[in-house]
Each structure stands twice: as structure tokens, then as C-alpha cells.
């Protein structure tokens, strides 16, 4: 479970995140929806301890990153905005490297790696060097290496960005599987369709603040709209920076 309380972060005069609070529960998919530049990536970066919040608190399974960032990172599986793979290593070697950094035993790494390779349907590329991988193959590898240590909480920053239709559908199936396994899945997106299709709970962010935080049906009810798309536009006040 991930709890975020009144998170703030400024870069000079720019308030990238200006009071964000929400809770992402286990066994649910929580979507962070917002236009480009709303502060989604910065919020996630504070969650996975890459950045320190100016004020506010984050709790991952009750642990505060300010007290023990390493323990928090151990509980998180993160697909960051930056997907960089090691191009001179194979997909398998990329996954193994992260397993070792997680401090796992070699047999445990091998077991998890093979399971993920099957789950993500990437057996055909597992022993290939990642140089020249397609966007979809890269995302698969990046996700596999992020989840090698079997984390309870999964953070995905725009996981379907740049993927084609087939790869997007596969990604959605995989996220449902993560949810079914009882994990806490938190992902960010600026694509309304995707959030609507996947989420149990939607947190809408605009200009660094949370403008709505509810289940899809509750959002429809509140706004009096019949489609989520219209509801989002109404909540944010504009459709700029969003994609259907």
C-alpha cells in the first residue's frame, strides 16, 4: 500500500507538485491521470526516492523513505520514465543484474527471471542483446527487471507510452495479472481511454494538485457526465495535454 500526504516539490520558482495526497491500495490498480507536465513523473520520482519532497510524507507499506530509503526501494518495483537498458547486455542479463542488486540468490533470480520472461511473452528476445530492441521489447525488458524481486508495490510511469495496439493490450493484461496477484499497482498516464479501461481508482492531477480522487463510477456521478472522457475534461477544465 502506498500513502501520499500533501506532497510538494518546487524547482526554483516552478511548483511542479503542489500538495498531492492519495492512497493506492493492495489488489487495486490506481491510475494517476493528468495532462503532460501536470507533475505525475515528479510525484512518482518522490515515491521511489529519487527525489526528496520539499514537504509532505510518503509511506510505502507504512515505511517512510525519509527514514529508510533502501527499505522502501526494496518494496517497490519501478518502471521509471527513463527506460534505459544496457544495450551490450542481453535481456536476460539485464534482468539478472537487477536481481543481484536486489541482493537475491542466483537460484531465486533464475526462477523469477524465467517466470517473468514467460509472463511477459518475451522468450524469443531473452537471449538477444537489447541494442536495436523495439519500443515494446524495451518496455517488456524494463518491466521484467523492475519486478525481478517480486515487489508488493508496482509503480509504472506511462507504461504504454510508445507501444502499438498489440503491445498495449498485452501490457494491460499484465497489469490485471499483477492486480490479481494482490499487488498494489500505481501507474501514470495521460491517456483517458487507458485509465478508464484499467483503473479501480483514478487520481486526477492538474497543475501539481489533485483535482479528483475516486472510482470511475463515482467520477461519472459527480460530474453528471455519461462518459469518463467528458468527465475528465470537465474536472481538469481543459482537454489540453490529454489524449483520448
Amino acid at each position: 500500500m502506498i500513502e501520499v500526504k500533501d506532497l510538494r516539490k518546487a524547482f526554483g520558482a516552478v511548483k511542479a507538485v503542489d500538495g498531492v495526497s492519495f492512497t493506492a491500495r493492495d489488489g487495486e490498480i490506481t491510475g494517476l491521470l493528468g495532462p503532460n507536465g501536470a507533475g505525475k513523473t515528479t510525484t512518482l520520482r518522490m515515491l521511489y526516492t529519487l527525489m526528496k519532497p520539499d514537504t509532505g510524507q510518503v509511506l510505502v507499506d507504512g515505511v517512510d523513505p525519509a527514514d529508510d530509503p533502501v527499505a522502501v526501494r526494496r518494496r517497490l518495483g519501478v518502471l521509471p520514465d527513463a527506460r534505459g537498458l544496457y544495450k551490450r547486455l542481453t535481456a536476460s542479463e539485464n534482468i539478472t543484474y537487477f536481481g543481484r542488486l536486489q541482493g537475491m540468490s542466483e537460484t531465486e533470480i533464475a526462477r523469477r527471471r524465467e517466470a517473468l520472461i514467460d509472463a511477459l511473452e518475451m522468450r524469443d528476445i531473452a537471449t538477444r542483446r537489447t541494442e536495436g530492441f523495439s519500443q515494446g521489447q524495451r518496455v517488456k525488458t524494463a518491466i521484467a527487471r523492475a519486478l525481478v524481486h517480486d515487489p508488493r508495490n508496482v509503480l509504472l510511469d506511462e507504461p504504454t507510452n510508445g507501444l502499438d495496439v498489440m503491445a498495449t493490450r498485452a501490457m494491460r493484461r499484465f497489469m490485471h495479472q499483477l492486480k490479481a496477484e494482490g499487488r498494489c499497482v500505481l501507474f501514470s498516464s495521460h491517456i483517458m481511454q487507458e485509465v478508464a479501461a484499467l483503473c479501480d481508482r483514478i487520481v486526477v492531477i492538474a497543475h501539481g494538485t489533485v483535482v479528483a480522487d475516486d472510482t470511475p463510477s463515482a467520477l461519472l456521478e459527480k460530474t453528471g457526465e455519461t462518459s469518463l472522457e467528458e468527465a475528465f475534461v470537465k474536472i481538469i477544465g481543459t482537454d489540453e495535454g490529454l489524449a483520448a
Binding site: 526516492t49 529519487l50 527525489m51 527513463a82 544496457y86 543484474y97 543481484r100 542488486l101
Partner: protein, 391 residues
């Protein structure tokens, strides 16, 4: 496997698969220096030797006036060549290394027992002609002294009246210290090798990771950043140590390829020398690895890091350049200055003087202190938020 070893082995393995890094660390870095050096040395030595032994041809203006002088030249292996019309121009245009001009009143003055003028026209800024000029000058001076002595004897005087003081040279240079003079740039080659050996790795492991956006996912792992840095530094050091060992090994073969005996020098670049050089260089290996990483961490891209590092590469040249322009008498504190200490130490080893325990301790202590400082600064840099954010 702990985080340090995981990072270390991954970096070594990944870079062993990179042709550019390998060529730089294992071929260009360590071997370019020795090969270039041996080739240049051979060309130079052979040219000098050829000039010193073989008959040369020097244009003489007014040769017909002074047959006795021409005979003296010939007996010293200098042939009077064809006259040139404009000797100053000929020397300037490099058509002749040196031209001799005999004054027109030579015969008259000689017969009267007066002194005559023999001009030696040359250009002292043309270093390649220096040997020839020195040889001609020597022959002219010898001729003058001999003829002078003859004249004194003819007047019933002892030649020693004209030369009350004799200079006797007692050169204390040993054949090994003379070679140190020729090899004084050797320390620079070793430093450069270490620099080159680790450079591409240092760029790849910081600026490169950042550019490829793999630093952010890496830092998300539950590993303290200093452990990641330690693994990376160890990988850089491994490559530069291998570069250095190869370079030392390559230089140790130099005496086989250079005609040292003809130069009257002794060159000892054997195992003992090599081991001491590696020992002296150890702190520099860590220092340079940390400095390179630090500088690369400031760069946003691989290319930018490359630019910064090529500027950083000038720094190791400074002590060598300084010492060749201003020959310093080594003071104890100088050994504690990184780069300068290594420079002095290696030159001393070349001279065959050896290096004292105190100098060695100063050299290592100063070097490692600077290295610790650089590692600390890099670790601070690694902790910054800015570092991981690629875009």
C-alpha cells in the same frame, strides 16, 4: 553476490563487449606510446650516427684559395662541394646545412702570417643541421690550432705560451643518466596510458549511463549510491591497471629495438623498474578514475564528457612540461604532489639512482590523499538528485 561485486562484474563484462573501449584500453593507450617512441628513437639515432661517421659534402666558397684548408677538411671526411652563389639563401632554403666561405684575401694574409677569416654560415634554429655544423666547426678549430702551433714552433716558441689554460672535461654523467635525459618524457607516457585506459569506461559509466537513461532505473534499486560508485571505480581502475601493465611490458622491450650501445647509454626497463613504476602509479590510477568520473558526472552526454576529459588530459602533461623547461632540483615536498612526484620518481629510476623509502612513502601518501579527496567529491556528486535525472 553483493551490490559492489554485481556492479563491478556487470561493468567489466559490458565493456569487454565494447570494441571502442577495448581498443583504447588494450591497444591505443598502452601500445601507441612505446611503438611511436621506438620508431622515433630509431630514426633519430640512425640519422645522427650517419652524420657523425659518414663523409659529408659541404659547399665551400673560395676553395681554390686555400688548398691546405681543403685538405684538412677532406682528411676529416668533409668534402668541399660545389660553390653556391648565395650561401645565406641556400642555408635559409635548406638546400645546404652549412656553407663555408673563405675570405678573398686568404692567400695574402696567410703568407704574411696574419689571421684569416673563414665564415661558417648556418642556421642554429635548424636542429637537424646541428651535428653537421658542430662537426665542421670542430674541424675548422682544430685546423686553426694546429697551424697556430706550427707558426709558434717556427718562431722558436712553445705552443703552450699561446694557451695558458687548458680545459679538461670531466663529465660525471653515467651512461644510464644520459639515457634518463632522452627518456625524460617516459613518466608522461605512463600517466597518459592510465588516463586513456580508464577514460572511455569513466565516460560510459556516468555520462553514458545518464545519456542512455539507465541511471534512474539503476538508482531505484535498494543499494546505497556509494556502493554503486565503488563498483564502477573498481571497474575503471581494473582497465587502467591492465593498460599500464601492458604499457610497462611494451616499454621493457624498447632496449632490444633501440641501438643503445651505439649511443653509449644503458637502458634498464626490466622487471624491477616496471614493478616500481606500477607501485608509484597506483595512487594516480585511483585519482584519475575518480576525477574522470567526477567530470563525466557533470556532463549531460557522452560527447560532452569526452570534450571535458580531453581538457582534463592536459593536466598530466604539466609536470613533464614544467620539468623539461625548468629543471628543478627535487625537494622532498615535491614527491608528495601527485603527478609531479611520480614524474620525479620515474626519472630517478631511469637514472639508475633508485628511489628512497622516504620518497616512495611521500609519493604514495600524497597521491592516495588526493585520490581520497577526489573519491569523496565524486561520492558527493553521486548523491545529488540532479545526477539521475536524464532529461
Amino acid at each position: 553476490m553483493n551490490a559492489f561485486t554485481a556492479v563491478y562484474w556487470k561493468e567489466v563484462r559490458e565493456n569487454l563487449r565494447d570494441r571502442r573501449t577495448l581498443i583504447n584500453a588494450l591497444i591505443t593507450g598502452p601500445l601507441l606510446g612505446p611503438v611511436l617512441f621506438i620508431m622515433l628513437m630509431n630514426v633519430m639515432v640512425n640519422r645522427e650516427l650517419a652524420r657523425a661517421d659518414q663523409p659529408i659534402n659541404v659547399p665551400v666558397i673560395g676553395a681554390e684559395l686555400a688548398p691546405n684548408f681543403i685538405r684538412a677538411l677532406k682528411s676529416a671526411g668533409i668534402d668541399a662541394g660545389a660553390t653556391v652563389t648565395d650561401p645565406e639563401r641556400a642555408v635559409h632554403d635548406m638546400r645546404a646545412d652549412v656553407v663555408i666561405r673563405i675570405a678573398p684575401d686568404y692567400v695574402q694574409a696567410w703568407n704574411k702570417g696574419q689571421s684569416v677569416q673563414v665564415e661558417v654560415i648556418y642556421d642554429s634554429s635548424r636542429r637537424d643541421a646541428n651535428t653537421t655544423v658542430a662537426r665542421v666547426r670542430g674541424v675548422v678549430e682544430n685546423f686553426a690550432r694546429r697551424e697556430g702551433a706550427m707558426r709558434l714552433i717556427a718562431r722558436g716558441l712553445s705552443p703552450s705560451t699561446a694557451w695558458p689554460v687548458n680545459v679538461a672535461d670531466r663529465d660525471q654523467a653515467t651512461s644510464q643518466s644520459r639515457s634518463a635525459l632522452m627518456f625524460s618524457f617516459l613518466p608522461y607516457f605512463f600517466v597518459l596510458t592510465v588516463f586513456m585506459g580508464g577514460m572511455y569506461l569513466a565516460i560510459d559509466l556516468t555520462a553514458g549511463e545518464r545519456e542512455r537513461q539507465s541511471l534512474e532505473p539503476l538508482f531505484v534499486n535498494p543499494v546505497a549510491r556509494w556502493k554503486i560508485l565503488a563498483g564502477k571505480l573498481a571497474a575503471i581502475c581494473t582497465f587502467s591497471v591492465i593498460s599500464l601493465l601492458l604499457s610497462v611490458a611494451a616499454f621493457s622491450t624498447a632496449p632490444w629495438f633501440i641501438p643503445t650501445e651505439k649511443l653509449g647509454i644503458v637502458l634498464d626497463l626490466g622487471l624491477r623498474f616496471g614493478a616500481q613504476v606500477v607501485l608509484l602509479m597506483l595512487p594516480l590510477i585511483l585519482l584519475l578514475a575518480a576525477l574522470q568520473s567526477l567530470v563525466s558526472a557533470f556532463a549531460k552526454s557522452y560527447r560532452e564528457a569526452q570534450t571535458y576529459l580531453s581538457i582534463l588530459m592536459i593536466i598530466p602533461i604539466l609536470p613533464s612540461a614544467l620539468l623539461s623547461v625548468i629543471p628543478l632540483k627535487p625537494e622532498p615536498w615535491m614527491y608528495a604532489v601527485p603527478l609531479l612526484g611520480q614524474n620525479l620518481g620515474i626519472v630517478q629510476l631511469l637514472r639508475g639512482d633508485g628511489i628512497t623509502g622516504q620518497e616512495l612513502v611521500l609519493c604514495l601518501a600524497g597521491g592516495f590523499a588526493a585520490a581520497a579527496l577526489a573519491v569523496w567529491a565524486t561520492a558527493l556528486m553521486y548523491r545529488s538528485e540532479r545526477l539521475a535525472i536524464s532529461a
